[in-house]
């Protein structure tokens, strides 16, 4: 599904390398988790994959189902099936949540040569999905993320994911700022989307999210590289001993 090979990335504005050779393959139907200390490059990886400005790829490649991601505009990556759930979802005053989502769904359909969704069908689908995530009609009408609580913003990300039905989902610190109940709601939303044809990359700081979204593979990232890969037990090891032991072990 997602294939990242020897990816090197530096900041555009200063000559500072952030990713120093990332190799990672996420298969369809699998959930991979990336854990790592602050500043290890986890969020940078998610931004580079989704096409945010400000980064320069100096070496390596990233493909989604064989298509070269790095050559595409952000909207093309989305239409190809990539989705990033933001660590800090952006507030957009003046743009209604519903208008935004409908525009996005239909833009992706159009880009893929599919028929656009009618207003009535869209309404039916979004109401059902919003209900599962405990998102009320009022939240759908409000401007995108404006005045939303931390939990509401994250649930709104998952709602977008549910509506857009991407093939490859990247979740960037989706647990940050969530209390236990909100985290469970978000995790349930993600789990409902787990599917044999869909891959997940869950970026997190803490193991606790992985209690709810059970990973198949866990990677540890440090200083711009994947330094260790293992099963779900690896996350528990981090939880119990911190990163220091693992980093010392691979150094």
């Amino acid at each position: 599904m997602l294939e990242i090979k020897n990816l090197h990335v530096k900041l555009e504005e200063e000559d500072k390398a952030i990713l120093k050779g990332v190799d990672l393959t996420v298969e369809a139907g699998k959930v991979h988790a990336i854990m790592g200390p602050n500043g290890s490059g986890k969020s940078t990886l998610s931004y580079v994959l989704s096409g945010r400005d400000g980064y320069v790829v100096t070496e390596g490649a990233a493909h989604l189902e064989g298509e070269d991601l790095l050559e595409m505009e952000p909207e093309e990556r989305a239409a190809a099936g990539l989705f990033l759930a933001f660590q800090y979802p952006v507030e957009i005053p003046g743009v209604g949540n519903m208008t935004f989502l409908r525009t996005a769904v239909n833009a992706q359909r159009k880009a893929r040569g599919e028929e656009e969704m009618s207003a009535a069908d869209f309404l039916k689908v979004i109401r059902a999905k919003a209900k599962e995530l405990n998102i009320d009609a009022e939240m759908l009408k409000r401007p995108v993320n404006v005045g939303f609580s931390g939990g509401e913003k994250k649930r709104n990300e998952i709602l977008q994911m549910a509506m857009l039905e991407p093939k490859m989902c990247i979740l960037d610190e989706t647990d940050s700022g969530l209390d236990v109940d909100a985290m469970r709601l978000v995790a349930d939303g993600v789990n409902a989307l787990r599917d044999a044809g869909r891959g997940f990359l869950v970026i997190t700081h803490y193991q606790r999210l992985l209690d709810h979204i059970k990973p198949d593979v866990v990677h540890i990232m440090a200083d711009g590289r994947i330094v260790k890969t293992g099963g779900p037990d690896l996350a528990l090891e981090v939880e119990n001993n911190g990163y220091a032991d693992i980093l010392a072990e691979v150094a």
Partner: protein
């Protein structure tokens, strides 16, 4: 002295090509008084304080600079709204294209025909509000309009108008130079909506005087023409009575030069006056909103909301003032002027002013200039919305506060659709 002499020359040259329309004692008196004002003030020049950001040359030269005609691919506005339509072609009334000037609760006549009649209500408005709006800031183009306007409508409203009166201005001659003057009195408790649209002429000087009596309501929604090369100088003079409502919104999406002045005087307690504008300029576009709101009564509310989206070297100007006179307590005044600059070639020049002589008031004003929010743009694109469409969404979001000033939902939706169409056609 040289500057003064030059001003006198510019004025004399301009007036030399105009004829003072004849007919009717009251109208002739008003015109002659206005002509005296023009001669005393002289036409505006670049050195005048209120013309520092906008070059008036093309508005004052004797002959109108030519302007190519309307792009027929663009859609007309207000077509879905039931209305009484009055059409002017290059400033000349078109009887055939216009509806009968009759509606319950309204007396409508034309300035060109009114001179001979003794319309005493009009005597108290025509040129009167304009004259009182000449201080403290001179507006010589408005006085010139009062003196030389060839036509326009005179509307007296005594009840609730069943539908809006729509003034449509067509532009069919590349060198037309039109001067129209509308005079409106909304009587106590009456209610009128005026719609205006169209480029009008290669050069258009338009003045509208509106007297909103106690408890009356006046709504004005305007779309200023689709011909890019047209030039316009417009004035609205409004007097707003007790518990009356005055609301005006203007959308400008084209035009090489537009100067819209509004002079609003709130004279009765508990009145509300809102004036708003949304403009989107691309390339050779200069748009100037010059607004003066005077509070001379207790417990009144005023709002000025102006938003401009500029790109490819377009220029936006805002000069807005709130004057709160002594004794105008409990005034709630608000003024916002903002620009969204889509590139580094465009500019926004703003001069917000507050002058307050009462101590128990709330007045706030703000002016900002900014680029598109890159983070929001990326967020939209990451969800699959192409860059151009995402930019349009953010542009519409930026303009929303101004569009929200249109009270009627149907009209607001119509204006929004017009704007969306314009943006979509101009995507890069």
């Amino acid at each position: 002295m040289a500057a003064l002499a030059r001003k006198a020359d510019v004025t004399a040259d301009r007036l030399a090509v105009l004829d003072l329309p004849q007919g009717g004692k009251w109208a002739t008196e008003a015109r002659q008084a206005a002509l005296a004002r023009v001669n005393a003030m002289g036409l505006p020049g670049r050195r005048d304080e209120y013309w520092k950001y906008t070059d008036p040359t093309n508005l004052t030269v004797p002959e109108a600079p030519p302007a190519a005609l309307f792009d027929p691919r663009e859609t007309p506005v207000f077509d879905d709204t039931e209305r009484l339509q009055i059409v002017f072609v290059d400033g000349v009334f078109d009887a055939e294209a216009s509806d009968d000037l009759e509606m319950a609760g309204l007396e409508i006549s034309r300035l060109a025909e009114a001179g001979g009649h003794d319309i005493h209500w009009a005597k108290d408005v025509y040129g009167v509000l304009e004259a009182s709006g000449q201080a403290p800031v001179e507006r010589p183009l408005a006085a010139l309009n009062t003196a030389y306007a060839t036509d326009g409508v005179l509307i007296r409203v005594t009840g609730k108008a069943a539908k809006p009166v729509s003034l449509m201005y067509l532009h069919k001659s590349e060198t037309s130079d039109a001067i129209l003057h509308h005079t409106i009195r909304v009587e106590k408790g009456a209610d009128l909506t005026i719609l205006e649209n169209g480029p009008a002429a290669a050069r258009f000087n338009k003045c509208m005087e509106v007297d909103v009596a106690d408890g009356a309501a006046f709504h004005h929604i305007r779309v200023q023409g689709r011909d890019h090369e047209r030039r316009a100088a417009t004035h609205i003079f409004a007097r707003v009575g007790a518990a009356a409502t005055f609301k005006s919104f203007t959308l400008t999406v084209n035009g090489r030069l537009t100067r819209n002045e509004a002079v609003i005087e709130i004279v009765g307690d508990e009145a509300v006056a809102h004036i708003a504008g949304a403009s989107v300029g691309d390339g050779d576009f200069h748009h100037d909103d010059t607004v003066f709101v005077t509070h001379d009564a207790v417990n009144c509310e005023s709002r000025q909301v102006f938003k401009k989206v500029l790109r490819n070297g377009a220029t936006g100007v805002f000069q807005g003032k709130i004057l709160v006179k002594e004794g105008a307590q409990k005034t709630d005044g608000y003024q916002i002027s903002q620009s969204l600059l889509l590139d580094e070639d465009s500019q926004f020049l703003a001069k917000p002013e507050l002058e307050i002589y009462a101590d128990d008031v709330i007045c706030s004003h703000g002016s900002t200039s900014g680029a598109i929010d890159e983070t929001a743009l990326f967020y939209l694109r990451s969800r699959g919305v192409p860059e151009a469409a995402a930019t349009d969404l953010l542009v519409l979001a930026f303009l929303a506060e101004a569009l929200d000033e249109i009270e009627d939902e149907g009209l607001r939706e119509g204006i929004l659709a017009h704007l969306e169409g314009w943006l979509a056609r101009r995507r890069r």
